[in-house]
Subunit: 295 residues, 2 copies
């Protein structure tokens, strides 16, 4: 959970944008199902966002509110929004965060391990009784900094959701076919490789699925799109109730749909404004987008 300052070439600097993986993923999953959130914020974190999470059915029992400032990130996007640089990162209350599952969370059926130290990811998993699905994200910092710890936790993960660049970094391969298969060899039988505006691939056993990114007219702010994708994907899976191959494919499409609503606004505004009828319209549009059989 974060409070960001983000510089955009066209529209200037936006301050006090609420962000953070857990925030985006919970707001997104909350569109589909009950969510149990784990995180930490300082006293500066906007009450309005906590209220919005609660209003979406997100349980905040696992969110620690402590003295000090929330994690703060200051970044700048390239003019075409295809890359960004970090100007300043202040861990603040996140520095000594130990994610702890409240007793009421321990029977969770689906667990999403956010992008934190892989040892902490493992400790979260130790606290979950017997989840049916363990999903995880990671990043270059852990791939290079804590490779052994990362490999240990990946062996306990069923679904890895990862950016293409990081996936290439982790496997040393370039083509999506090799990248996907190599990631599966690290443990997860299912792998989603996110390619941003170029969509996402799902590797599920021997099967491969691709969903394009929904072709939005204008991207305003890509921050949080990947977390929004992951949240919608898992929220959809929980709501559908089954973990069949088809459910995972449809979950990827829902992830793409909600992520496309996210990037059309600054910060969490897009995912806050997402409604099921607009999501469903984009999901239907996906079916037309890739349909080549008839006509």
């Amino acid at each position: 959970m974060a409070v960001d300052t983000v510089e955009f070439a066209g529209t200037g600097e936006k301050r006090e944008l609420v962000g953070g993986s857990a925030t985006f993923a919970s707001l997104s999953a909350g569109l589909y199902t009950d969510v149990r959130m784990v995180g930490v914020v300082g006293r500066d974190f906007p009450t309005a966002t906590l209220d919005a999470l609660r209003a979406r059915g997100v349980d905040l029992a696992g969110v620690q509110v402590v003295d000090g400032e929330t994690f703060r990130w200051h970044g700048r996007y390239a003019a075409d929004l295809s890359s960004r640089e970090s100007l300043d990162t202040r861990l603040n209350v996140f520095e000594h965060f130990k994610p702890t599952l409240p007793q009421s969370y321990r029977d969770s059926r689906i667990v999403l391990l956010g992008n934190i130290h892989p040892t902490l990811q493992g400790e979260v998993l130790d606290q979950a009784a017997s989840p049916a699905l363990v999903a995880a994200d990671t990043m270059n910092f852990w791939i290079h900094g804590t490779p052994n710890e990362l490999r240990a936790v990946l062996r306990r993960v069923n679904l890895l959701i990862i950016n293409e660049e990081e996936a290439r970094d982790l496997t040393g391969h370039r083509t999506i076919a090799r990248v996907g298969r190599d990631l599966q060899k690290l443990g997860p039988q299912r792998v989603v490789v996110k390619q941003g505006e170029y969509g996402a691939w799902l590797f599920d056993g021997d099967e491969i699925f691709h969903a394009p990114a929904y072709p939005v007219e204008q991207v305003i702010d890509p921050t949080g799109a990947g977390d929004t994708f992951a949240g919608a994907m898992l929220g959809y899976l929980d709501a559908e109730g089954t973990l069949s191959p088809g459910a995972f494919r449809r979950a990827v499409v829902h992830g793409s749909a909600v992520a496309s609503l996210c990037v059309e606004h600054y910060g969490t505004e897009g995912v806050l404004g997402a409604a099921r009828d607009r999501i469903d319209a984009r999901v239907r549009a996906f079916a037309r987008l890739v349909h080549a059989e008839h006509g």
Copy 2:
């Protein structure tokens, strides 16, 4: 039609690779239908390639064989094959080339205008009696060097097949949705934007279609993949016989399938080795790749 020298980071320099847009596109279209080729070569152009074209049913009446050397390009790919630089370009016999349609070509139903000076593209079109479909390619050199001539010929084109980078350059937009619509405003009611390893988008009136690139294990040489795509697309359309929206979508999938066979080998080797059963297997794989409705 070209003879290339290409440097690859992993495997070193390949000399005397046969290339050129017309070569790739004709070999590819020839997998589907009768092709009438227009181009120019010098005495150095390999007879074996001309024989291979003939064997694939490509009519060479429009290919001029003249004294001098064939167009020669020398380039170098980046290690990950995602970009390349030109080290040397020698126009040779191409410098004063005036594409001329033999009388026997003038009733051609489908015309592909290769990536040459837009005024020459227009002159080719003047020689065609009444084609049902005029497709064209272009590149940054003409976008910046001859913008008015390019705009004039685009108004006579039904199907523009263009790389994403060039499409962005031509429209000044970034998102695929705006790029596609803006290209349609320049004249062509149908536009294909090729994104290399990220697939291709078809804009057809108000409808949008996306096909991923087939996930090949290893890319050996991306040279000619775009021309192979265009050739297979138009060859398929001619063979199918109708120009319905569904036929265009299926044509994009065939373009992707043959392009994926092209990049797995050096030069024209992949498209020369392409056989209908392998193409059809990849086309069937595409249907599974994007199928999210059931299961």
